[in-house]
Amino acid sequence: MSRNKKHVNELSFKENIYYYPEHTWAEIRGDQVRVGITDYAQDQLGELIFIQLPTAGDEFKQGDIFGQVESAKSVSSLYMPVSGKVVSVNNEVEDDPEIINHDPYETGWLIQVQPYELKELKSILSKENYINLLHEKDE
C-alpha cells in the first residue's frame, strides 16, 4: 500500500517565507504571522483525514506543539515556528483537511498569530537552508 513520495527536487517551496525544521512555515503578513505545513510534510503524511488546531486566544512559545494532523498512515504533531497568540484559525481545513495536501502554502494555511518576538524568525531557516536539510534527510 505504499505511495510514492516526492523526491526533494519535486517538492514545492514558497519564496520569501521562513521554514521551521519540524516542517512548518511562517509567513509575515503585516504585523502578524501566518503558519502552515510544508509540501514535504503533506507529502510524507499522505492524504490528511483529520486536523486538530488551537483556538483564537491560545498562546504558544516557539517550538511548542500547537496541534496535530492525521492521515490513515500516520499522526504528526504541529510545531510553532514562532512564539505568539493565535488570532485566527483556518476553519476550511478543519472541515476538509485535504486542502492542505493540495495547497499547503496558500489555501491550506493553518493559523495566524500575533507574534511576540519577530526576531525569532531570524533563528529559523530560509528556503535554501530548509532544502539543504531535506537533502540531508535523503542521504
Partner: protein, 279 residues
C-alpha cells in the same frame, strides 16, 4: 440494518472479509478510503477518532460499522459478522501483519460461545492465515479445542505464581482451569509462557513489582504442572500500557541488571528462561 465496511486499496484482509460476505450473501456497502469512500471515511473518522486503533503501519483495516457498532481488524470484524456481540473480548486489533494474525485472546471472551469462536478461527485458518493467540489460562476448554483442531500456529500463556491468581484474576477464578491450560500449552507446535513483571498490591498496602523469588515460584509452577524444565519462558518488564499511570509513575523501572537477577532465579526451574522485550 446496513453494514458499511471501510477498506483501503490493496488491503488483503479487507479482501478476505469482502469475499466472505459475498459468499454468505450478507449485504454490505464497501467504502474504499482511497477511492469514492474518502469523504465518508473522513466524516466517520472525525466523529469516531478515539475509537479507531492505529498500528505501526497506520489505521488498521477493515473497519466495520453497523448501527453505531464499530469493529476493527479481520478477527473482530469476522467475529461480529458471525456472532454479533457474543464474541466481544475474543478479538482485538493485533499488531502482526501479512499472513500472521494476532489479537486473539482465548480467555478474553465468554466461553459459552466457544463454538462461534472456534468457527471464526476455522474461517481465518482456511484463508491460509497463521494465528497467534494468547491466554491467561481461563477458558481451558476452549484452548483444548483449539489444540484438537490445530487452529493456532503460536500460543502465548501469561502465567503467575500460583498463590497470586485469586488476586490477579479475581476470586471466582478456578485454578484447575489454569492448570489444565498450563498442561495443554507445551502440546502446541509453537508456544511460550510469559510473565510480565507487574506491580501488585501487597498485604501491607504497598505496591511493588513481582520479585525475583516470585518469578522463580512461577517457573517452578510451570515445572510442576508440565513436568519439564525446558519450556520457552519469557520474563518481561512492564510498560505503561500494563499499569495505571499513577502507579506507573511512582515506580522506578527495572534496570537491565535487575532483570538479569529475575532470569537467574527463573532458570533454576526453567532453564531456557529469557528476558522478553517490552511490548
Amino acid at each position: 440494518m446496513s453494514i458499511t465496511i471501510f477498506t483501503a486499496t490493496g488491503c488483503a484482509r479487507c479482501r478476505i472479509v469482502k469475499e466472505f460476505m459475498k459468499n454468505e450473501n450478507i449485504p454490505f456497502t464497501e467504502k474504499d478510503i482511497k477511492g469514492e469512500g474518502k469523504e465518508e471515511f473522513q466524516n466517520f473518522y472525525k466523529v469516531n477518532r478515539k475509537a479507531i486503533i492505529r498500528g505501526s503501519e497506520g489505521i488498521e483495516f477493515p473497519i466495520l460499522v453497523e448501527n453505531g457498532e464499530i469493529r476493527q481488524g479481520i478477527g473482530a470484524v469476522m467475529a461480529f459478522l458471525l456472532a454479533g456481540r457474543k464474541l466481544d473480548g475474543f478479538f482485538t486489533v493485533g499488531s502482526l501483519h501479512q499472513e500472521w494474525v494476532d489479537g486473539i485472546h482465548v480467555s478474553g471472551g465468554d466461553p459459552r460461545y466457544k463454538e462461534d469462536f472456534i468457527q471464526v478461527l476455522r474461517l481465518l485458518k482456511s484463508k491460509n492465515l497463521n494465528l497467534q493467540m494468547d491466554t491467561n489460562g481461563k477458558n481451558s476448554v476452549v484452548l483444548k479445542q483449539v489444540l484438537t483442531e490445530n487452529l493456532a500456529q503460536m500460543v502465548i500463556m501469561d502465567i503467575w505464581p500460583k498463590r497470586l491468581y485469586a488476586q490477579l484474576l479475581g476470586e471466582d477464578m478456578n485454578i484447575n482451569y489454569i492448570e489444565e491450560s498450563i498442561a495443554l500449552i507445551p502440546q502446541f507446535s509453537e508456544y511460550k509462557f510469559q510473565t510480565t513483571i507487574l506491580p501488585i498490591q501487597r498485604e501491607n498496602g504497598e505496591i511493588s513489582f513481582l520479585t525475583p523469588e516470585e518469578i522463580m515460584e512461577t517457573a517452578k509452577y510451570i515445572y510442576e504442572v508440565t513436568g519439564s524444565k525446558k519450556n520457552k519462558y519469557f520474563i518481561k518488564p512492564a510498560n505503561s500500557q500494563d499499569i495505571e499511570s499513577d502507579i506507573f509513575k511512582s515506580l522506578e523501572p527495572l534496570t537491565n541488571n535487575q532483570l538479569l537477577v529475575y532470569r537467574t532465579k527463573a532458570r533454576v526451574y526453567q532453564v531456557y528462561a529469557e528476558i522478553g522485550k517490552q511490548s
